[in-house]
């Protein structure tokens, strides 16, 4: 089974989607149950990956599958080429882990056209898993675009009041980005053919290290990739689609968007943009680190002033993902491990926060902070869970958020980005400000609004949804080695390759300068 584990995992949701399409439209509960069962099965299919120790010792791609898809001549191939390594491992598992939780959260929240929603959710899962396991650039692009469509409809059909505006904005931002990336991908293929590099089993991620794209070309190609990924992350200043998309999306959509879709951007940098264009990466690092730090502070400041809980959480994502980007561009083991871990952490904590906002919304049909207050008194269980998630988001030691942030900051401080780190660390203060202020206004004080007096505490289903997330909040906080150990070999290998090329490039530049100087002196 291991030979086709990845394909089975990726396409099983499509099977589920087919089943659903044959179910009657009115069978609301049945459709939800089938979807839930399918996503749980997918999770169990992916689970052996978590226990495979090969990732802790080897940096290579594992569980690889290869089928030739389109061939033009000998060199120009597009292949179904998939595999998994320590970089994509936990993102894949995060996806299969979050999906059942997201589906379970729709139990009462989605009541119109359930069939369509569930079918799209399953299609989305295939898209996301496919993107994480693609080794072929074109295949990645196909899955990348595949994710866009279901999310667009999720927001546009099941969203809130301004859903059309939000959906169109989401689509335009992401589509502009992807088009630029497509052009760049075509050029990279063109170049790989031009350079006449014969690649066994087609051109793929594993060959990036052998590519030698001239520096001036790298600049442009990196810019195209980077722009596309930056929109997805989202980085300041192309982040404005996110708050709208999040506020309008239904809870399940927000959870998936925050937990997984946003990771496509940061993952894209680590998997594609940086290894393909090491020299351009070097050029762009200060600029992107600057944007990351601005994002950290800016996102936090704007989050602080929001009057809508969901928008607050959305802006906090801008801040958190700024940390991830800083860690990635620190280009050392601590920074990258921290960045990768923080992607998982953000998925768990922010996913949990969106679920919490969803619980509130289902009860009161409002998300305005001012409509709440004093809920600790009426909903003690909810209060406890909310508190834990809040402090995980703030990054309290002992929770997941701390480990990620700490590794990122330690890594960045060791690297060239030392001064950026000092500013980024202020994010630690600001996170406490905006989260605790919100928590105080929603949960503490007296119940002033009579509508809040008789709110029901969390149901067994809702506690069940939160429990797995809470477990991982503490697990990653107390023993992150479970996760870090399996990232290390792949990251070390990548750093070695990228740094190696960067050093050569710097030496060449030094030599050029010397030659120029000598010429001038003559």
């Amino acid at each position: 089974m291991n030979d086709h584990l990845l394909s089975l995992m990726t396409f099983f949701p499509l099977v589920g989607m087919l089943i659903i399409l044959f179910l009657p439209r009115e069978a609301d509960r049945l459709i939800k149950t089938v979807t839930l069962v399918v996503t749980i099965i997918v999770f169990f299919i992916s689970l052996p990956l978590a226990f495979d120790d090969v990732f802790a010792t080897s940096s290579a791609m594992h569980y690889t599958e290869f089928v030739n898809w389109i061939s033009v001549g000998d060199y120009f191939q597009m292949n179904y080429n998939v595999g998994i390594d320590g970089i994509s491992l936990w993102l894949v598992l995060l996806t299969t882990f979050i999906m059942p939780i997201a589906i379970l959260s729709t139990w009462h929240a989605i009541d119109k056209n359930t069939k369509g929603f569930m079918a799209l959710a399953l299609l989305l899962e295939t898209g996301m898993l496919g993107a994480f396991i693609s080794l072929d650039l074109f295949l990645f692009y196909v899955f990348w675009e595949l994710m866009l469509v279901p999310m667009y409809f999720m927001i546009g059909i099941w969203g809130g009041k301004n859903r059309i505006y939000a959906a169109v904005k989401f689509f335009i931002f992401t589509a502009v980005g992807s088009l630029l990336m497509l052009v760049a991908i075509i050029y990279v293929y063109y170049y790989s053919v031009q350079a006449g590099v014969p690649f066994e089993n087609g051109f793929s991620v594993v060959h990036f290290a052998q590519m030698d794209i001239p520096a001036h070309l790298q600049t442009w190609l990196f810019a195209a990739f980077a722009f596309s990924f930056a929109i997805k992350v989202p980085m300041f200043p192309v982040h404005t689609w996110l708050p709208d998309a999040h506020t309008e999306a239904p809870t399940a959509g927000s959870v998936i968007l925050a937990a997984i879709l946003l990771k496509m951007g940061t993952y894209g940098y680590v998997r594609f943009a940086i290894p393909l264009f090491p020299e351009a990466t070097m050029q762009f690092t200060p600029f992107l680190a600057l944007l990351a730090v601005i994002g950290i502070i800016y996102g936090a400041l704007v989050a602080m002033m929001q009057d809508d809980v969901k928008k607050l959480v959305a802006y906090s994502s801008v801040s958190h993902l700024g940390f991830v980007m800083l860690g990635v561009f620190a280009m050392n083991l601590q920074g990258l491990s921290g960045g990768l871990l923080q992607m998982i952490n953000h998925g768990i904590s922010t996913g949990a926060l969106f679920l919490i906002v969803g619980f509130l919304y289902e009860r009161r049909h409002t998300r305005l902070i001012a409509d709440f207050g004093g809920l600790s008194k009426v909903m003690p269980v909810f209060a406890t869970i909310f508190l834990i998630v809040t402090f995980s988001s703030i990054g309290l030691p002992g929770t997941n958020g701390f480990v990620g942030e700490f590794l990122i900051l330690v890594g960045a401080f060791e690297s060239e980005l030392r001064i950026f780190t000092v500013f980024a660390t202020t994010g630690v203060i600001l996170a406490a400000v905006y989260m605790l202020w919100m928590f105080q206004r929603v949960m503490m004080g007296k119940v002033t609004n009579p509508k809040n007096e008789n709110l029901k505490d969390l149901s067994a289903r809702e506690v069940t949804i939160m429990m797995p997330l809470l477990i991982f909040i503490f697990w990653i906080g107390i023993y992150p080695n479970t996760f870090l150990d399996k990232m290390t070999p792949a990251l070390e290998n990548m750093i070695k390759q990228v740094k190696g090329k960067q050093q050569i490039a710097m030496m060449v530049e030094d030599m050029d300068q010397t030659v120029t100087q000598v010429t001038v002196n003559d």
């Binding site: 904005k169 335009i172 931002f173 200043p237 192309v238 982040h239 404005t240 708050p243 800016y298 400041l301 704007v302 602080m304 002033m305 929001q306 050392n332 083991l333 601590q334 491990s337 921290g338 004093g374 600790s376 008194k377 003690p380 402090f391 309290l396 030691p397 002992g398 701390f402 480990v403 700490f406 590794l407 900051l409 330690v410 401080f413 060791e414 030392r418 780190t421 000092v422 660390t425 202020t426 630690v428 203060i429 406490a432 400000v433 605790l436 202020w437 105080q440 949960m443 503490m444 004080g445 007296k446 107390i478 023993y479 992150p480 080695n481 870090l484 150990d485 290390t488 070390e492």
Partner: protein
């Protein structure tokens, strides 16, 4: 063998989990919940005693107990590990000892509270965090405790979460502490990187101490690395230990239940900054600049907080400012290199200040019941509603009085020895400074004054309680008075472990000095930190400081016992001064304007100014442009044959024209 050190923090953690998860639904019974909370801590105290005694008889004074790896990422290896040496041994004794007493006291004080289980769960969690802080063998485990106590402080200050003031105070405490934590983290990054550049990648305290000498001569940003790192760490200390400029959260923290103020905001958590400097004393010793800053900040805080203590009428607020001020004394000690004296004062302060807070709690408890009984809304914490309680609450009065004598530094009470050692070092140390000595002496005078003011207003003179409630004020039950008696006893004799050489007639020796020497002696010797002067000078200074304390008490006696109209006359004469001091020098208001409001304005600007106007403006602008262009282009696609024909003809003409003209 020291392989069961982990049991010390484990017991309170277990207590927190049991009461937190089961307290509300399953245990319910207050007695059982209280017994679990207190019992777990007592077990931890017993284990601490065992290890303390074991360490006393051991020739090796530093023992580590590593449980597991926490983070392992290349060069960065962090363990869940503990370190027992004389410094942490002393701290665990204070934390678990005083902690147990305060837990016991809480059973009586919190009786009948709805959130009884929650209270005990938080309190246990606090002690767990505090023990992690003092026992951690590396800076990151210490940081777990460091932030953990901040979290528990947040939870306990906000215990009465329905009160807005409690919620505000809790948030303020956590955020201000986070400002300090920002410093702590930067210090840690600097240290890790700087040691790493010498090939030593570590944050383990023992290894830091062994390798600190590598850093001498290293520079960063034009200053020495040790100065930058220690200044960052000290910023962390000012947050946690409520020093200038981050002290304003502590007085507000009095919103929490009184035993919490005693445990967290007097005896243990707020001393974490002092402990941290003690733990990294070698780094501080390497930077005379930082040490001077520490001493100066400490001295200024000591005197500044004391002035505010003059004008407060809320009994807990007086004690809160007194705590800020006393912490200033401890930082002076650390800053002038009197590490032992700083830790000594930390310990004696834990005794007498916990006793004072618990005493005030006993009074508030009694007042509250009396006022409640008479259905009155008077403030149970306002000293102007008290007076004359000496006869009604004799045990509380006696223990409070003893602690006042101790904090004022009257001979042979515990505070005398520790405060005197600080003053002596400030005067005579190689890192000392006469100006700082003068400031601290003045602060000591003020301490004696405002503490006796507090004593007199509460326990002496006429009882000013509303007549309806007056006779319902009674002494508290034994669970409350027993801890008071024990703490008062410690406040009396606790100083005898640190008798200064100059007056050591019986030649018992300075036990504390000898005990802590393995931790502090190395850096003091290496960087030539010592207090030198003749025994006669030391004795003269000692007599002088006693005279100062007596003068403070004397002034208070005149103003609040002999002629109670004097304070009124004084405030009438200097109304502005009184108003400024009464309003705490308007520091809160200044911070609000400078930081809080400007940050909010910046947030609004980023959101409504930049996000909405600039970014979305550009995006929407492009969309509109595309829309406009397409509506123009739409005319070309009209579908009318004549239009197409016309366009074709025009095109042909233009092309011909170009061809001919070329």
């Amino acid at each position: 063998m020291y392989d069961k050190l982990w049991l010390i923090p484990f017991f309170p953690l277990l207590g927190a989990i049991i009461n937190g998860l089961l307290g509300k639904r399953f245990i319910k019974n207050e007695k059982v919940i209280g017994a679990i909370g207190t019992g777990m801590l007592f077990l931890s105290f017993l284990v601490s005693c065992k290890y303390f005694i074991q360490l006393l008889g051991d020739s090796v004074k530093s023992h580590q107990n590593v449980i597991a790896s926490w983070m392992s990422v290349g060069k960065l290896q962090v363990d869940w590990g503990f370190l027992l040496d004389p410094l942490s041994a002393l701290m665990i004794m204070v934390v678990t000892g005083v902690g147990t007493l305060i837990h016991l006291y809480s059973i009586g004080y919190m009786h009948g509270e709805e959130g009884f289980y929650r209270y005990f769960s938080y309190l246990n969690l606090f002690v767990f965090s505090m023990l992690m802080l003092v026992l951690g063998n590396n800076a990151l485990v210490m940081f777990v405790g460091w932030e953990g106590v901040g979290l528990c402080s947040y939870l306990l200050i906000g215990y009465y979460f329905e009160k807005k003031s409690a919620g505000d105070a809790a948030k303020k405490a956590f955020v201000m502490n986070r400002v300090g934590d920002f410093g702590f983290l930067l210090g840690l990054f600097t240290l890790f990187w700087a040691l790493g550049s010498h090939g030593v990648w570590t944050i383990n305290f023992v290894e830091i101490t062994e390798n600190a000498h590598l850093l001498s001569g290293d520079m960063i940003l034009g200053a020495s690395v040790t100065t930058v790192a220690t200044l960052c760490f000290f910023l962390g200390a000012t947050g946690k230990s409520a020093q200038l400029p981050l002290f304003t959260w502590l007085p507000d923290a009095m919103e929490g239940p009184t035993p919490v103020s005693a445990l967290i905001h007097a005896a243990t958590m707020v001393t974490a900054g002092v402990y941290m400097i003690g733990r990294m004393n070698i780094l501080f010793a390497m930077s005379p600049t930082t040490m001077f800053v520490v001493a100066l900040v400490g001295a200024l805080t000591a005197i500044f907080a004391a002035t505010i203590g003059f004008a407060q009428n809320d009994i807990k607020r007086v004690l809160a400012y007194s705590t800020v001020s006393q912490l200033g004394f401890m930082f002076v000690a650390m800053g002038v290199g009197a590490f032992t004296a700083g830790i000594f004062h930390l310990m004696t302060h834990a005794f007498f200040k916990a006793c004072l807070f618990l005493g005030s709690g006993s009074v508030i408890h009694a007042m509250h019941h009396a006022l409640h009984h008479a259905h009155l809304d008077d403030d149970a914490q306002d000293m102007r509603n008290m007076g004359g309680l000496r006869k009604k609450m004799p045990i509380t009065w006696a223990t409070f009085g003893i602690s006042c004598l101790a904090i004022s530094g009257l001979p042979f009470f515990s505070g005398f020895f520790s405060k005197d050692e600080i003053l002596w070092w400030a005067f005579a140390s190689t890192r000392g400074n006469k100006v700082i000595w003068v400031i601290v002496v003045v602060a000591a005078f003020m301490t004696a004054f405002y503490m006796f003011r507090c004593l007199y207003m509460t326990f002496y003179g006429e009882q000013k309680t509303n007549p309806k409630a007056k006779d319902h004020v009674h002494e508290s039950p034994w669970v409350i008075t027993l801890p008071l008696v024990v703490l008062a006893g410690l406040a009396t004799v606790g100083g005898l472990i640190g008798i200064p050489h100059a007056i050591d007639i019986a030649h018992v020796g300075n036990k504390l000095n000898a005990f802590l020497a393995p931790v502090f002696h190395h850096s003091q010797e290496l960087y030539k930190i010592e207090a030198h002067g003749s025994a006669s000078t030391e004795i003269i200074l000692m007599v002088f400081s006693v005279a100062i304390a007596l003068a403070g008490i004397g002034f208070a006696t005149v103003m609040y016992m002999k002629d109670p109209s004097l304070p009124g006359k004084f405030t009438a004469k200097f109304p502005t001064l009184h108003r400024v001091v009464f309003n705490k020098w308007y520091v809160d208001e200044i911070y609000d304007t400078l930081f809080v409001n400007s940050t909010k304005k910046l947030g609004i600007f980023c959101w409504k100014g930049f996000d909405v106007k600039v970014v979305d403006g550009i995006v929407n602008g492009i969309a509109k442009l595309v829309g406009a262009l397409s509506s123009v282009l739409r005319y070309t696609q009209s579908g009318l044959f004549t239009n197409y024909a016309l366009t074709m003809v025009l095109g042909t003409v233009v092309m011909l024209a170009i061809f001919i003209l070329n």
